[in-house]
């Protein structure tokens, strides 16, 4: 296996690990807040569950980019391509947007979800508006996802 292949695998791994870490933190703190609300008012379970799930998407985006990268490298069919160092670094660079933005946006979306859960706790009828605040953070994760997918797809193997 060449160093290029190692770099490409590192990129795929970072996309999954960092965005997964962001989502795990975000879903974790939103879950704590959701538990606090449900312990006092179980009728709000469905609404706060949706709020908790919002920061979970970054992990899925990271998985998607990682999957595409692995597929292009040929790891999934058991025949990894012998990539040059420069091609491997191109894969690594292509995976970085979703890896880094996934980590940061996952954490911040979690914090925004916690605040939005506070709105749902006091004014459940404002659920739609409350959901928009964490959803705004999602925009930047989607932008990073798009760039990572286009870049990974565009790397010549």
């Amino acid at each position: 296996m060449t160093m290029g292949t190692v770099y490409a695998l590192l990129g795929a791994a970072l996309a999954v690990i960092l965005s997964g870490m962001g989502s795990a933190y975000g879903v974790g703190i939103a879950g704590q807040a959701a538990s606090g609300v449900v312990s006092e008012d179980p009728s709000k379970f469905a609404k706060v569950l949706i709020m908790q799930l919002l920061p979970g998407t970054q992990g899925i985006y990271g998985l998607l980019v990682g999957f595409i990268a692995l597929s292009k490298i040929g790891v999934l069919n058991g025949e990894p391509a012998q990539l040059s160092t420069s091609t491997g670094l191109l894969f690594l660079a292509a995976c970085l947007p979703i890896a880094i933005v996934g980590l940061v946006s996952g954490r911040n979306q979690g914090k925004t979800s916690v605040s939005a859960i506070g709105i749902v706790a006091k004014k459940p009828d404002q659920f739609g508006k409350a959901m928009l605040f964490p959803a705004m953070v999602e925009t930047y994760a989607i932008l990073a996802l798009l760039v990572s997918i286009l870049a990974v797809q565009g790397v010549p193997v």
Binding site: Q32, S35, G36, V37, S39, E40, V114, A121, K122
Partner: protein, 323 residues
């Protein structure tokens, strides 16, 4: 550290829904008799369901206990909340010294829920074992006890311990990481200093007495407060206006009860920004203070009804609500 309170703050957000708002207090005020007020409170879940006593003091005690029990369910570390119980602890010390000197134990005069119980404090004072008290209490306990034994002056004992309590609050505020605890401590001491100055001005106390009662380190300079108080209430009002405490000056011009109301409202104003805090212990402290303020307001309304006060007189004493 901030993340430690996410669950608790979210739970508090739900509990804030059951706090009395201004309109709920208006509904309580519209109840014509003491019994109607009690019924209104029971309908809102106040008191214990297993205790149908018509005595409001049990109901208010039960509400106080419920508040602290809720907080204890949410966090195991009660140390950051100690700033709120310092006045109770020092009150117990005052009561313990007077009880120890008079030679009788009146259990009902002690606050519960303090680190050292009132009875234990009486025992410590009787044995002069001040080293068993928290460090911040030792010196003032000794000074207050000896002063009370030699002069029999209860007021002297009170000002020594009250000043030590305020200094302990200020110290707790300075050591705290949470911004709200710092703000609360400073506001509490400022309000206490203003209250003491006004009372001293009205009763014509000496400069020496005021220097022993007032606390330095918050907003006001002790000497300026003393000078204003020696010149009279009008000068205190002028000094407060010049120091940015216009509302305090205005309330003093109105009446004593309006001024007392302002003192409590200042604390509520300090904690109000916590309604938008989703992460830190500040929201929990604000909830406790809001509950204590709510219980105090209900007590004012109930005692007003019990003593046949006019609605306008009760309304003047009603505190601002947190929600």
């Amino acid at each position: 550290m901030a993340d430690n309170y996410i669950y608790a703050v979210a739970r508090i957000r739900s509990l804030e829904m059951s706090l009395f708002s201004k309109s709920t207090i208006e509904q309580l005020l519209s109840e014509k008799t003491y019994e109607d007020c009690l019924r209104f409170l029971k309908d809102h879940g106040w008191g214990n369901s297993d205790n149908d006593s018509e005595d409001a003091s049990y109901m208010l005690l039960a509400e106080n206990k419920k508040t602290w029990d809720t907080i204890k369910e949410m966090t195991s570390d009660m140390e950051p909340f100690r700033v709120l119980t310092i006045p109770d602890e020092y009150h117990n010390l005052k009561a313990a010294i007077k009880t120890a000197v008079k030679g009788e134990i009146e259990a009902a005069i002690f606050f519960e829920g303090t680190v050292i119980s009132g009875e234990k404090m009486v025992d410590i004072v009787r044995r002069n074992a001040y080293e068993e008290l928290p460090e911040s209490m030792r010196e003032c306990a000794k000074e207050a006890y000896e002063g009370f034994v030699h002069t029999g002056d209860g007021q002297l004992c009170d000002i020594v311990i009250d000043k030590a309590a305020l200094e302990a609050i200020l110290d707790a505020g300075e050591k705290a990481e949470e911004e709200l605890i710092k703000d609360y401590a400073k506001t509490y001491v400022d309000v206490a200093n203003i209250r003491t100055t006004v009372r001293c001005a009205k009763t014509g106390k000496s400069a020496d007495f005021m220097r022993r009662a007032l606390v330095a380190g918050a907003t006001f300079e002790v000497e300026k407060l003393v000078s204003a108080a020696l010149a009279g209430v009008e000068d205190v009002i002028r000094y407060l206006s010049e120091s940015g405490y216009t509302d305090a000056a205005e309330s003093l011009k109105k009446s004593s009860s309006a001024f007392e109301c302002w003192c409590d409202n200042m604390i509520i104003e300090t904690i109000k920004p916590q309604k938008y805090n989703s992460f830190t212990i500040g929201a929990l402290i604000a909830y406790i203070l809001a509950r204590l303020n709510e219980i105090k307001t209900v007590r004012i309304v109930l005692s007003g009804r019990q003593n046949g006060l006019e609605e306008a007189a009760i309304r003047e004493r009603v505190r601002e609500m947190y929600v």
